[in-house]
C-alpha cells in the first residue's frame, strides 16, 4: 500500500510543472515577442486630433498586444493547474526539412527562383525516401517546368530573374 502511495507521489511530482516545460516556454516567447512589438508601437507617428478618427494609430495594436499578453498569462496560470501534454522530440527529418526551406530561400533570392524550387523538390523528395530516378526527375525538373510554363503563358506572370530564368527570358 505504502509502495503504491509512493509511486503516486512520484507520478504527481513528475506531472508538476517545472520552469522549462512547454507551457512556460510558449508563454515566455509570446510575451517577449508581444513586449517587443509593444515597444515598437511607441515609435509610431502620432497624428493631430483632427485626423486621428477616434483613436491614434498606435492605440489599437497596443490594446491587442495587452489582450494577447493578458490571455497568455492566464494560459500559463491554467497550465500550472492542468499541465500540457509533453510533446515528443522532433525527428531529424523535420530539422533537415526546415534547413532545406532556408536553403531554398537563399538560392531563390541569390541564384535563381526555379533553381531554388528544383533544389527543394529534389532534396525533400530524396530526404523523405524517394530513390526512383525517373520520379525524382519528374518532381525536380518536369513538374516545376510545367508550373512555370502555366504561370508564364496563361497567367502572364513574370518570374524574378536568375541564372536559369534569364536564359528563358532572353
Amino acid at each position: 500500500m505504502k509502495h503504491m502511495q509512493r509511486n503516486n507521489e512520484r507520478a504527481i511530482k513528475k506531472k508538476s510543472p517545472s520552469f522549462l516545460n512547454d507551457a512556460s516556454i510558449v508563454s515566455f516567447v509570446i510575451i517577449i515577442f508581444s513586449l517587443f512589438l509593444f515597444y515598437l508601437t511607441f515609435n509610431f507617428d502620432e497624428v493631430p486630433p483632427i485626423l486621428n478618427r477616434g483613436i491614434q494609430p498606435a492605440t489599437f495594436p497596443k490594446g491587442l498586444l495587452i489582450i494577447i499578453m493578458s490571455l497568455t498569462s492566464i494560459l500559463y496560470f491554467f497550465s500550472l493547474k492542468n499541465p500540457w501534454k509533453k510533446q515528443e522530440t522532433l525527428p531529424k527529418t523535420f530539422s533537415y526539412t526546415l534547413i532545406i526551406l532556408i536553403l531554398f530561400a537563399i538560392i531563390a533570392k541569390t541564384l535563381d527562383f526555379f533553381l531554388g524550387l528544383s533544389f527543394l523538390s529534389f532534396t525533400i523528395s530524396y530526404l523523405w525516401g524517394e530513390r526512383r530516378k525517373l520520379l525524382l526527375f519528374f518532381v525536380t525538373v518536369i513538374f516545376p517546368l510545367l508550373v512555370f510554363i502555366f504561370f508564364e503563358t496563361i497567367l502572364n506572370l513574370r518570374f524574378p530573374g536568375g541564372i536559369l530564368t534569364d536564359l528563358y527570358y532572353r
Binding site: 515598437l40 489599437f60 494560459l75 491554467f78 510533446q87
Partner: protein, 489 residues
Amino acid sequence: MENFIYMLAPLLSIELFLVLFFGTLAGLILGVLPGLGPTTGGALILPFTIPMDPLSAIILLTTIYCAGTYGGAITAILINTPGTPAAAATCLDGYPLAQKGEAGRALGLATIASVFGGIFSVVILVLFAPMLAKIAYQFGQPEYFALAIFGLTMLSSIGEGTPIKNLIAAAFGILISTVGSDFMTSVDRFTFGVNILTEGIGFIPVVVGLFAISEMLVQSTLLHQVFNRITLDALKLPTLDDVKSTWKTILRSSGIGAFIGILPAEGGTVASLIGYSEAKRWSKNPQEFGKGSIEGITGAEAANNAATGGAMVPTLALGIPGSATTAVILTGLIIHGVRPGPSLFREQPDFLYGIFGAMLFSNIIFFILGFFGAKIFARVTLIPNKLLWPMVFVVCVCGTYSLNQSLMDIWIMLACGVIGFFMRRFGFSLVPVIIGLILGELVEGTLRQSLVIFDGNWLMFLTRPIVVTFLIFSIAALLVPYLRGEKNN
C-alpha cells in the same frame, strides 16, 4: 422566378458548367488528400482564378468547398485519417465499418448523407441569406463592430485548441492585419522600414503558409507512419433498411450543421462533432457508436456538408466568414471586386443566385462522381507524400508569388509555415488566425468610425440595442466553453 433562372446559370453556360464540373472534381481530389482539403486547396487555386470573371472564380471556389468537404469522408473511411478536419468524426464509425468488409456501404451512406446535408444547406442559404441581408441594412458602424467581436468570440468555442489559445490565435490574426500603412491616417505600423510591407500582409501568403507549409513540416515528422488502407470494391447505395434507420439522423444533423454553419466563425468541424454526438444521444443503439454505427457516419457527414451552405450565409450577407474556407472565398470575392454584404443582394442577384445554383449542382455532381468514381478517388490516397508535398510546395510558391509578384510574399509564407507548425504542435488552432486576419480591418475600422460618431465616448456603444445584443452574445460565447468544460468534468 427570376432568381430561379439565375440559379440555373451554371447549367445554361458551357463555360460555367465546365468550371462547376472541374471545381467539383478538384474539390473531391483535394478533400481526399490528407492535409490539403478545401481551405488550403482554395487558397492554392485562388491565384489561378485571377484571369476568370468573378462568377466563374467564385463558382470554382465554392464547388471546391462543397466537394472537398465530402471528399474528406473517403479518406476517413478507407485509411482512418480524415482528409479534412471536418471528416474527423466520420473516422470514428466509418473506418470500423470498413474494417468489417463494408467499406462500400459506409461510403454509400456517407455520400447520401453528404448530398442531403449539402442540398439542405443550399435551401437554408437561399432562404436565410437574403433575410439576414435585410436585417443587416439596419447595421451601422457600431453594429458591425459588435458583430465582428461576436464572430471573434465565437472562435473560443471551435473544436480545436482551448478557448484561451483560440482567442490568442485570433488576436494574433488581427495583429497581422495591422501591419502596413494605417488605412485611415497612412501612418506606418510594424513595417520595419520595408517598403513592401506598407501595403500590409496579404491573406494568401498567410493562409498558404499556415495551412500548406505547416502541413508539409508536419508530414516531415510522420514519415514512419504506416496507413492501413482498406480496399474498396464498389460504392453501394444504402438499402431501404439503412435509409429507415438513418433518415431521422440525417435530417437532424442537416439542421444542426446548417445552424452551426450560420454562426460566424464556426464551421464543418464543429458541426460534424455536434452532429455525431447528437446522433449518439438520440440513437436507440448508442453502444454501437465507435464500432461501425451507420448513424454515426450519417450524423457526422450530413452535419459537415450542411455547414457549407450555412457558413456561406454570414459570408455573403454580412461579409463575416462562417469558416476558414469561406474566409478564402471572401478573399476571392474581394480580389474580384465584389463587396459582400446587404448591397450585394440588391445590386447583383444574378451573381448571388448563380453561386447558390452552383452549390446545389455541385452536390449533385459529387454524388455522381462519388458514386461512380469513389474507387478511383480512393487511389489518390496512394500518391506518396515524398512526391506529393514537393509538388504542392512548387504550386504554393508560384501561386503566392503570382498575386503581387513579390518575393516578400514567399518569405511571409515560409515564416507563417514555421509559426503554424509550432502553433499546431502546442495546440493552437490555425483557423482563428485566418478569421482574425480577415476581420481585423473590419474590427479596427468600425471601432474607429464608431468612436468618431460617438465623439470618443465608449459608453455610447451601450445605447444601441443591436450592439448590446451582440455584446451579450459575445460574453455568452466566451462563457459557454467553460460551462461546457465544467459540465464535462
